[in-house]
Amino acid sequence: MLLTTEPTTPTAEEIIRTHHDSVWRFLVSIGCEPTLADDLTQEAFLSVLGDGFEYRGSHLTAAWLLRVAKHLFIDHVRKRKAVLGVDLEHAETRWQEFEADCPHEKRVAWLRECMGELTDRAREALQQRYELNLPREEMARRLGMAPAGVKTMLERIRRRLRECVQGKVNHDDA
């Protein structure tokens, strides 16, 4: 079990609180359904913090947790003979780079700022897609456009948001 005698070694609770959300977000971002991500995140912590765990710093612990979570997800996909939507080689490293580039809370705050600059129709599309989780056909019906048009519209919105946040990141770096 977890070593707690050394003053520099965090407790299991501290490790979970520090890394839990990042692991969950990582799983969702590589294509894992949110409800499955709940379970797999738990399993990842149980696997890493079980017998034989030795703390070697926050960065390595995060890398280990992400890697275990990725493997759990790949196993899940494979058992169902489904196909991964994206190559996951080095996914955990790339996720850590992505987070190091801009902390999540700051990125989300900037995304919200950037969303404020979108048209009402674009914001409506975002709400339907992410908050209401509507299928594309239903979005098309509500927005009065073809399903292919919805796809194009969302791609355009995503691109604009990424550019907007990236501009803020660059400005912040400068």
Binding site: G50, V86, Y130
Partner: protein, 647 residues
Amino acid sequence: MTTLEDGFWEQAIGEAAGGRKPPAQTDVILTRLQIPDLGPPPVEEKPKGRLLRLRHLFEAAAAVAALLAIGVLTGLIPLGGGNAGNGAGGGEDGPDTPPMQVAAAPDSEFRQEENELELEHGWLLVTTGAPDVTCEGSRLTKVDGRVLVHAGNAPTGKQVDAVEGWLAANKLETEMINEAKRWFQAAGMAALVLTGSAMLDGQRIEAQDETTHASPQWRAVESVMDIEKLPSDAQWVRGERLDGNYLEFLSAHTAVKGIAFTFGDSMRPVNLKQLASMPNLEYLEIRGAVWAVDPDYSPLTEMKALKQLYIDYVPSIQDEDGKAVAIASDSTERYHILSSLRTLSDRGVDIHLGKLAGLNDEQLAKIVASLPGLTSLTLRGNRSVSSTSMKLLAESSKITSLNLYQCSSVEDLGLAYLARANKLTALTLGPAPTAAELYQVAKMTNLQELTLVLDLDRYMDVVKDHVGELKTLTNLKRLEVLWQYNPMARFEGKGYEQVDAVSDLAKACPALTELNAYATLPPRDVARLIDSLQGTSLKRLGIGFRPSETARPAEPEKVVEDLKDIKPLSGVDDLEIRLYSLKSGDALSSGLDTLAAKFPDLKRLELTIDWYRSSSLRDGVPEFEKRVEAFRKAHPDLKVTFEMVEE
């Protein structure tokens, strides 16, 4: 979603737009951490053992039945109670029939003693596991592969002609058998080792290395200028990702025997018609072609000299936006693809078929039945074809090369059929081989090329645990292993087990001349791998390399430090270093000189970068290109290339 970064952004945008957030489950995890793992339920040993024994009996019976079936189909076992291979000794039970590992030619005479066969007259085809064969005091033992034996001296042309039908039934080429220099002559018999090895009167005899024959000298073309400048005696030409209309210019070179025109763009039937005018064209490879109009393979049938064809079964066609889209697998009939290929196959052309991802067992069976000339199949990515098809391929085709990467419905059962037939010389497997599958691979002793593509490092651990079994693959000439190196290996208390497994296997294969270990190996593992390959006969070595073990660029001094003590590895004249990242400021530039200096026989250095896997990690490419140019100038005797590769 197309890239990892797209997925990262999608999650962030979703959360910012009111989508799901991470749940609060710290307490749940803490509670679960306190509950001891009960482990799997206890197993009752006795019933399990009994079940296993019954299963083995069943498997043995099935194996015998299937081997008998194979023997009848291929002529390995004579039909008709031994008339075809009539034994002279006989006995109360009538004439001898050879054991299933041996086939006797018509009118041959032999006597079956305990644990040996005495050949008196004629021919035997002896395969792995056969009893000893004796003749006039000479003895053939330890056959591992296929050996053709002739009583007395090497056969004359007339003797070969007399058994032409039997040779053909066993897929033996008379041209090769007529070459006296291929035969090993002992006092009482002559032996020709077709594959593998054997002992003849205590001397080890081996199949002659096909690579010792003059290999084609390929000339690469990238432009019409290159084509027009080809010497008039150029025979082998390759080009990649060129427009199909380049073939018109190529067709003017009538001496050309072989064309590899892969991933051709905007192909049209007229391009193939132009090639049909080339009188000497024996070899054509047009895999990965994207057609500008409806694909049409019928002009191929006009290529009178054609002997080898590498082609897609389900070709791609350009859509309205110019993107390549595979045609529907059930529309191949509309394009008369199979009928064109059948015409070629009937004419004796060896067909190597790729892009069969959308096909099922039934469709594949139809193709196999229609194309007796099918020698290799790339089923990569096919999730429908099952082990049933492997039985068919093992028993009813002359396929010797199979790519089963990502064929998730082919399990160890399918590999067992292939192992039992033991006809494969080349196999690609992945991404998650199991112990049961590797067990079957170990039985494919005629394999000369094995490629294992593994998507997680723990599947490399599965391979590692079975290296002992795989050491039976002594005929292997080329071994390629791709795996995701675990950058956390040392953190998890592991050492060099994975690279050691690769080198252990390489060392167990005396015929191995090419080894490619493609993983994101950090410098220390690269050093370990090269050092542990001392004593092998490698001519070509490919190594995957990632200078830095972390997201940060590597420190030049550290890389050189890790590489500087490698012992020189002689024999290797072709080295490929495959990079998985080239970050600005990365240190391979310094490591390059150190590494190249460790190969005293080096003639060619191929620097490649895996384009897909290095995405977002290659901002140092321009800087590295300059370094390569400087390296090239400093080593004028070395052929140095730097290319992007896509898996």
